[in-house]
Symmetry: none
DNA sequence: TATGAATGAGCATTCATTCAT
DNA sequence: AATGAATGAATGCTCATTCAT
């Protein structure tokens, strides 16, 4: 039943960056962003609930009904903003990518002043800082073979941001080289995050330190 | 996708791994394979089919009916060997762990003779060698938060095997240290596998080499 | 698609035909059409949109939202004029009957001068002349067994008008006889319309001519 | 969730014509025909229930749940045999067409011995003889713009069968001419059926007789 | 013992209608 | 008065699991 979507009365009154900057082309449709306060709060609550439920149950096992209920919203409301489950997942993934990129951009401005080891430590600290969101994002990515596109975009954005950090640290680093290093480092960042999710692991701290150490060696070696 | 359970005797999800313990039983001629042999072949076919379907669709989207069909087996037969979907998933995970551990035990016997770099390369080559099985295993682990126990066991077995490899290389390495390093290295192995799954990535090879390089540096540094 | 009704004052589905009774109201200039004039235009647009959407999708599949959207009207406005979907359907049906009756009244004034064959041709040409409206009307009638009342009224009005045409042609025809003939002829008119809706039918033209011929024979025979 | 469909063990034991010969290409999939008694009875009950509910409510307003309930079957059972609502509708339509064609084939064998008037009467009696089925079939055809293909097939089969009747009556009639006449006559048959559905119409009988009379004139005229 | 038809709770999604703004 | 976001019952359909044969 075709759902039409207006560009809706873009009033520039209090129009700062919306709580969640969901960009261009998700799965099929775009989440409809509310123009007024109530909707804003509701969308935030829905996204938070979705994040929690996806993280807890995984994409398939999560039900739209539970997400709505946990946000204290009627199911129709959830569908008003996110016309399908897939769109909701997309919005969440995009939100997560936005947050990560923001952290990396911040790191970019501080990179020049950091030692290789400190830079490694800072990078590997990025992913663990958004626990629930990451768990949700990973649940989405891994459970949905049809999500590969989003997954690819997310990775591409992160790699680009990491490469930018590296070049801020060492402006003479060739772009190609920075890109390849970013790919390597992103995997190590994921590893660190995974360890952060396993808190009762005996050797957890030491292992995380090991990963940071390896990353430090890798960066130092590359910049030498 | 919560689904109620009709009077099912709901066995703990952790037992029943029929795939792993069936011993080798010779047969006389051919026409009517003794049921032991027949069963072995059927279980193997079912597990292979399950692996493929889980890898393709993820745990929830995979249906028992499709798995049975792809194995050329009637659904009743599938349930004869694997009384629930969860048991089937468990069996798959255990089978995967068995295969990985076997590879690591093999490596353990060769470790002493390898340079740190060669050892790193050998380790990071383990996970990528079982593509479909790994994809299936990841689909199971990531889509099912209630599978955390299995996940933990799998990781524990792998870490132990990796630690054994390290101590085969350097018998004086303290057990604690080896254990921590194993944790670190397992993350890097996962990273390498992940890159292996993204074959059209421009910097893929270089990045994988970077990961091997970092692991080599890490091992050399630790053994120094 | 049973749908419950929230506290609605559930008016009989047979009243409320706002489209048909709005008299002609002149306006002064242009910029701000007096609301009477505005309302007339809006109602016309809504009915046209409804007609198109009902014809395309059928009664149930048509949504009030799409109808409003296609008329360029807000949904609230649609409900201002037509308090329920059923009322909208009624209005459409009534409008269609009005249009048909007008055509038949016109024919009535010309009937005396026509030969039986010409009269048959003229009658069978009435229904095909309002394609979209007819499609919409049929969609409404056929999809809604609870619309039987409307359906009956529509038929009754048409039969009366057809009988009037017959008696204009042959004033001595007994009323009873004219009524029965009208029933017969209305069925043949429907048949002709149905053929008109199937334009890529090989024998379409010949068949339509056949229907006209049969109707001509029937009329001539009756008036003899 | 792809539903695979076996050609299932075509045992030729008691394999007479299945209760409902659902032929080649319906909407998307084919109804799965049961091989044994119980299923046979259940399918018949489901089709009867579907026929009644579609006739009463129309296609959209009919719910699968009600159809199953009225057949005394659980919803899952309904879906076992008819994987979608559309397939169920198709099966019904096909069943209806089969029944009508059978009646016409019977008429074909008697046609030569009938007068034009008697033939007309026999033809116009065909449709009214399957009241509920016809109501259901019309509800399906009229409410579903996407059913046009089935609709066309049904009409084509009927027209062919009618043409065969005409040529049985008058073997010298050119095929083309018979085809065109069949189109015309089918419309008159529909008209007669429609009148049969309106039993409390004062002039009903006379009007139906009028239709038969017109058809008789038409046939006699054509065969002259 | 082996088979696969049967079961029914649960899921994603829709849309007529209301009413706060 | 005019608007369109909010609401939630109802729908078509799925599939793990059972059990009669």
């Amino acid at each position: 039943m075709k759902r039409f979507m207006r560009m809706s009365s873009q009033k520039s009154t209090t129009d700062a960056t919306p709580a969640t900057a969901v960009p261009i082309a998700p799965s099929t449709a775009a989440p409809k962003m509310p123009s007024r306060e109530r909707g804003r709060a509701r969308v935030a609550a829905l996204l938070a609930a979705a994040s929690a439920v996806f993280a807890e149950k995984g994409y398939d096992a999560a039900t739209m009904t539970e997400i709505a209920a946990r946000a204290g919203a009627p199911i129709g409301s959830l569908y008003q903003f996110f016309p399908t489950k897939a769109v909701l997942a997309d919005a969440l993934l995009t939100q997560y990518a936005d947050a990560l990129v923001a952290l990396l951009i911040d790191l970019e401005s501080r990179a020049a002043a950091l030692s290789p080891d400190a830079l490694a430590a800072a990078l590997l600290a990025v992913l663990p800082s958004l626990r629930v969101e990451r768990a949700a994002a990973f649940a989405l990515i891994d459970a949905r073979p049809d999500m590969v596109a989003q997954q690819g975009q997310l990775r591409a954005r992160l790699r680009q941001a990491i490469a930018a950090v590296l070049r801020a640290k060492s402006p003479t680093l060739p772009a190609e080289r920075a890109a390849a290093m970013a790919v390597t480092l992103l995997q190590m960042m994921k590893g660190a995050a995974a360890l952060g999710d396993e808190p009762d692991l005996a050797q957890g701290h030491e292992a995380q330190a090991g990963l940071v150490h390896a990353a430090g060696l890798f960066i130092a070696d590359a910049l030498a």
